[in-house]
């Protein structure tokens, strides 16, 4: 396996809403996801996290730029290679309720990919379903039941089992725990961590809960209005956030230790700007407490300002 499983180069995904209205949901983003790592993706609601994830796994067609999977440009793959890539890249969605067909039995839901790619049949297929159920902490007899008979956490496990069925290498997990009870979230996160180890999976983990993202991720990327604003090792990001947006974001996490709860918080003023009409220069400048004159004029480039620590902000112009 190459060092980088997924390479994203100047990726763009635009949606055209009307004649002259375009949302630049993913706008010129470049980064890499290393083989075997969990890459956390955080940022403002509507900043383009889901769009980025869906574009990478091919659910959206990119408007520009390229995606390199396993060392090869996805756009230039042969039909057969494309099929393999599609199989190896899976996505788990936020709402375990909406993403499971209520009229299908759990066993058939899990086997959706197996059937689509005609991987196994009959007894072998059945054995594989049981094995997968067990793998995610469910029981073989659950195969005959319907999704509504399961709790939220169990349903999310079913979604994970379905993704695992086709032996993926890369999984985009789009807010896999947001819809779950606090007491169940940890069950699912532990399961995902175990699977990363035993199956050698690579994850793109999208979430709002920064505590969970820090817990599970090796590296973290921060998005704002279609742009990647900062990228670094997970610990480094929390100890030494460089971008003013990241600083505000991290300072806004409520602390669960009531003794530490009273501390300095960077309050962002105003609302996020409209994605169809983003500010000139740096997109964060309308809410940035440190904005300078240059920020309205020139868009800051995304560069490595410290070893393995990237950011797009004029404060770090040499």
């Amino acid at each position: 396996m190459p060092k980088n499983l997924v390479e994203i180069k100047t990726l763009k995904k635009y949606f055209h809403l009307g004649k002259d209205v375009t949302v630049k949901s993913v706008d010129d983003i470049s980064f890499t996801i290393r083989s075997g790592e969990t890459f956390g993706l955080v940022g403002e609601s509507g900043s383009g996290k889901s769009t980025l994830g869906k574009t990478i796994v091919g659910l959206h067609q990119a408007s520009g730029g390229e995606i390199i999977y396993n060392g090869k440009k996805v756009a230039e793959l042969s039909k057969e290679e494309q099929r393999v890539a599609n199989k190896e890249m899976q996505i788990i969605f936020q709402d375990p309720h909406a993403s499971l067909n209520p009229r299908m039995r759990v066993g058939d839901i899990i086997a959706e990919g197996i059937d689509a790619y005609k991987l196994l049949k009959g007894k072998q297929r059945e054995r594989r379903i049981y094995e997968l159920l067990e793998r995610v902490g469910l029981l073989p007899e659950h195969a005959k039941r319907y999704p509504h008979e399961f709790s939220g956490g169990q349903r999310q496990r079913i979604g994970i089992a379905r993704a695992l069925a086709v032996e993926p290498k890369f999984i985009v997990a789009d807010e896999p725990i947001s819809a779950l009870d606090v007491s169940i979230q940890a069950q699912v996160v532990n399961l995902m961590e175990d699977l990363a180890k035993t199956e050698g999976l690579t994850y793109l983990f999208i979430a709002h809960d920064l505590g969970m993202v820090k817990h599970i991720s090796d590296r973290i990327g921060v998005m704002y209005l279609g742009k990647m604003m900062e990228l670094s090792d997970s610990d480094d990001m929390f100890q030494n956030p460089l971008h003013p947006y990241t600083q505000a974001l991290l300072s806004a996490i409520p602390k669960t230790n009531p003794k530490m709860a009273k501390r300095e918080r960077i309050m962002l003023q105003g609302d996020p700007p409209s994605p169809t009409d983003p500010p000139s220069g740096c997109r964060f400048r309308t809410r940035c407490p440190l904005a300078m004159e240059v920020c309205a004029k020139v868009e800051p480039s995304f560069k490595e300002v410290e070893p393995n620590h990237w950011t797009a902000c004029h404060l770090y112009d040499a």
Partner: protein, 340 residues
């Protein structure tokens, strides 16, 4: 001192095709003037139903208040007529819902919705109501309030809608504000703005607030006291400091353990609560948490524990706190080390 709000032995059932759901079972608590009380707990544990009962919002059928009382400023809200209740709701108790779109009127300008409340409940003149409404929009941090007064809810962003709701709820300076997950749908940065605003209003206007949330961080930062609910009952009740430092119910231990600690770079494995949330159609006859509790004893499955007094203002509904329980000290320490 007399409590502003006193809920006593509240019981609420729902008749559904699957059977009778006992959504709230003997819930008792109080709220004093100017105090923020948080309610946390499992999804479906009865948090929303509890506060909907206070507001007279339980749909009936299928809902039924089976017993108990809700004293507010000396009156039992459960015995008031619809008209009397409407008067209290507009002026003395305000409510913020999780989804602002369901409670803002989409066909009416936001400013007018605030002004309307002032005219109906506070006898404001039209002109005064408008001025006050603009002032309220400004107070909740909506930029350019004069222009925003003239806009409809769909022209507001999610965070602004939530703040507009707060403006409506607070326009008549209620004595009690009920906020049901007011920030769950918001970004952390916008969440911080909204919570800051609520704290400020509590200080400035001495408003009491009931805050329902899933987020223990929000509790730690905002509330003075907290109720923990599970399976339709309040399983623990304490000051915020006491709950985090000396939790005495296994469900509370579980909640505290399942959140990761962001202040350390050590990667500790999370400790989830095993099992699934309870089935309210046939709640276990003993402690509702017993089927998932790793400390459960025989008695736990048989009989509902009472509220044990741990210290002044701290109660826990768990048999482990009974003096007859084996090694209560050991268990208490177990809870501590797991949280450490």
């Amino acid at each position: 001192m007399e409590h502003l709000l006193k809920v006593d032995q509240l019981k609420v059932n729902f008749n559904t095709y699957g059977g009778e759901v006992k959504a709230v079972r003997d819930v008792s608590f109080h709220v004093d003037q100017g105090e923020i009380v948080a309610i946390v707990g499992e999804s479906g544990s009865g948090k929303s139903v509890t506060v909907q009962s206070i507001m007279g919002l339980i749909p009936s059928p299928p809902g039924m208040i089976k017993g108990g009382s809700i004293q507010f400023e000396g009156k039992d809200l459960l015995t008031l007529s619809k008209r009397q209740m409407r008067k209290i709701k507009g002026s003395k108790i305000g409510m913020i819902f999780q989804d602002p779109m369901t409670s803002l009127n989409p066909t009416m300008k936001v400013g007018k919705q605030i002004a309307e409340a002032l005219i109906t409940h506070r006898n404001f003149s039209k002109a005064n109501a408008k001025n006050k409404a603009v002032e309220m929009l400004k107070l909740v941090g909506i930029p350019n309030p004069e222009a925003r007064f003239q806009q409809y809810p769909h022209e507001y962003s999610g965070g602004m809608r939530q703040r507009a709701m707060i403006a409506i709820a607070l326009a008549c300076s209620p004595d009690l504000l009920i906020a049901d997950e007011p920030t769950t749908a918001l970004d952390v940065t916008i969440q911080a703005q909204v919570l800051e605003l609520m704290k400020e209003l509590q200080k400035k206007m001495n408003t009491a607030i009931i805050l329902i949330t899933h987020d223990l961080g929000v509790v730690a930062e905002t509330a003075q006291r907290v109720l923990v609910m599970y399976g339709g009952v309040v399983v623990e009740s304490a000051s915020v400091m006491e709950l985090f430092e000396n939790p005495r119910h296994p469900y509370t231990w579980g909640l505290l353990q399942s959140i990761p600690d962001t202040d350390t770079s050590e990667k500790k494995r999370l400790v989830p609560i095993a099992g699934s949330p309870p089935d309210l159609f046939s709640p276990p006859k003993g402690c509702p948490f017993a089927p998932r509790c790793k400390y459960a004893m025989d008695i736990c499955l048989e009989e509902m524990p009472t509220d044990y007094d741990i210290s002044d203002g701290h109660t826990a509904k768990c048999w482990l706190n009974d003096e007859r329980a084996p090694h209560p000290e050991t268990f208490a320490r177990l809870g501590e080390t797991e949280n450490a």
